[in-house]
Symmetry: C2
Subunit: 226 residues, 2 copies
DNA sequence: CATACCTTTATTGTATACAAAATCACGTAG
DNA sequence: CTACGTGATTTTGTATACAATAAAGGTATG
């Protein structure tokens, strides 16, 4: 991560996720350049990346603003993930190898340890969970599918609040992963698809339960504009 | 289209579609800048856009090459389109309004005229067909879905050869659109989804029939490298 | 008082120069 | 003959200056 554009990307991204930059805040290139300690050139590149991440929105005249995520938007993302990751699981089931299966087992074993505690290690869960899903996605063997899903999975708007998941929800997640592995062992594509689809849908409800009535990005953190 | 980066984008894109730049050809920023008559700055922006279009591929060291599309890759795209556009049709069915319905009818009427001739007007077909699908996509009411599908639909690798579709296939397409409208009139989401999904899948077979044994981008047009 | 137009100001777009990095070529040692 | 290292060359990354364009504000006029 030595390149300046990466640094700018990470910096701005983190600030949006942390709420330092609230929905609708204008993002002038000059201001961001000073903020990140780099010139405008890498800032422009970072803004492009953030745009495909859908973390920022651009007007027709190319001015940038922090994107606003309604609960409906977030539901859309989960819905698309359910469909696409289900598809990935189906494809992965027919292409599964023993080595990948072994690595999936290892990942989920780590997840099992992390969530079996009274106070689950959420950071480890998130990390291993990501790897678990990434492994399946790669096994699906479709570069295009991988590209599309990457953009959805990386959505950090959701991560911001991932720490609020309840312990029983995390354990349920671990259990569903085990089922998924069973489906893969049997190379049962339809089974894998339906587990995965339900797995993602459940995640959405866990998310929305934890945020009843709250907007995706807390408007209380808004500090600018009258 | 006054901006230089747009000009560069279009120029490079056209050259790739036309086969002037063959799969695997290296795309140096300097060379492209001279080719497009602009500086490297807008070229870099154009390359980013072409990358998300999946028309170019970048190495880990950020060097750019014309992407190579195997038939399997193209099948992947159609498969994803079938799933996502089917999903869009399902959502659109529950959100359909009479004004949109009317516009769909108009579009497909134009398509009907274009394909009823002995020598179908393929350009008109492609244009109206695009509008027809775009209208449904917009009615689905999911910005994320729209973004994802845009990237797939715009795939110009496929357009290159769209002119080779047979007349009966074009008429069949028109007919399926009519069925789709029927499903929308009845607000039958499941019906709309299955018609749309089949519609796209059939389009793939029409495509692959027209290109039996041929690579996606004709290697015969390769003029560079020994 | 409202509106249209013009001036001013801020912001994005482009070009260019230079820095950093990677690739290639070549030569030498094993 | 191969493998490796080193330097030359090409290619990408960044900074900065300037041009073009859009937003903002103020003034004149209906």
């Amino acid at each position: 991560m030595s390149r300046a554009s990466d640094k700018a990307y990470k910096t701005i991204r983190e600030m949006i996720i942390a709420g330092k930059l609230a929905s609708g805040d204008p993002l002038g290139e000059e201001a961001l350049a000073e903020l990140c300690g780099v010139s405008r050139t890498p800032i422009r590149e970072a803004l492009r990346r953030l745009e495909v991440d859908m973390l920022i929105r651009r007007t027709e005249s190319q001015r940038s603003f922090v994107a606003d995520w309604s609960l409906g938007d977030i539901e859309d993302v989960f819905e698309l993930r359910a469909m696409l990751e289900g598809h990935a699981a189906r494809r992965a089931a027919t292409r599964m190898t023993d080595t990948v299966l072994q690595r999936l087992r290892e990942r989920n074993a780590t997840i099992g340890q992390a969530v079996s505690r009274v106070k689950p290690q959420v950071d480890i869960f998130l990390e291993q969970n990501r790897e678990f899903h990434a492994l399946i996605l790669r096994t699906a063997g479709s570069r295009r599918l991988e590209t599309l899903l990457q953009a959805l999975i990386e959505q950090p708007v959701i991560w911001r609040t991932a720490h609020h998941y309840r312990a029983d929800e995390l354990r349920r997640s671990h259990q569903e992963h085990e089922e998924l592995i069973s489906a893969f062992v049997r190379r049962d594509a339809a089974w894998a698809e339906s587990i995965m689809s339900g797995h993602i849908r459940r995640a959405f409800h866990a998310y929305s339960d934890a945020h009843q009535g709250l907007a995706a990005i807390d408007p209380a953190q808004n500090k600018k504009s009258a």
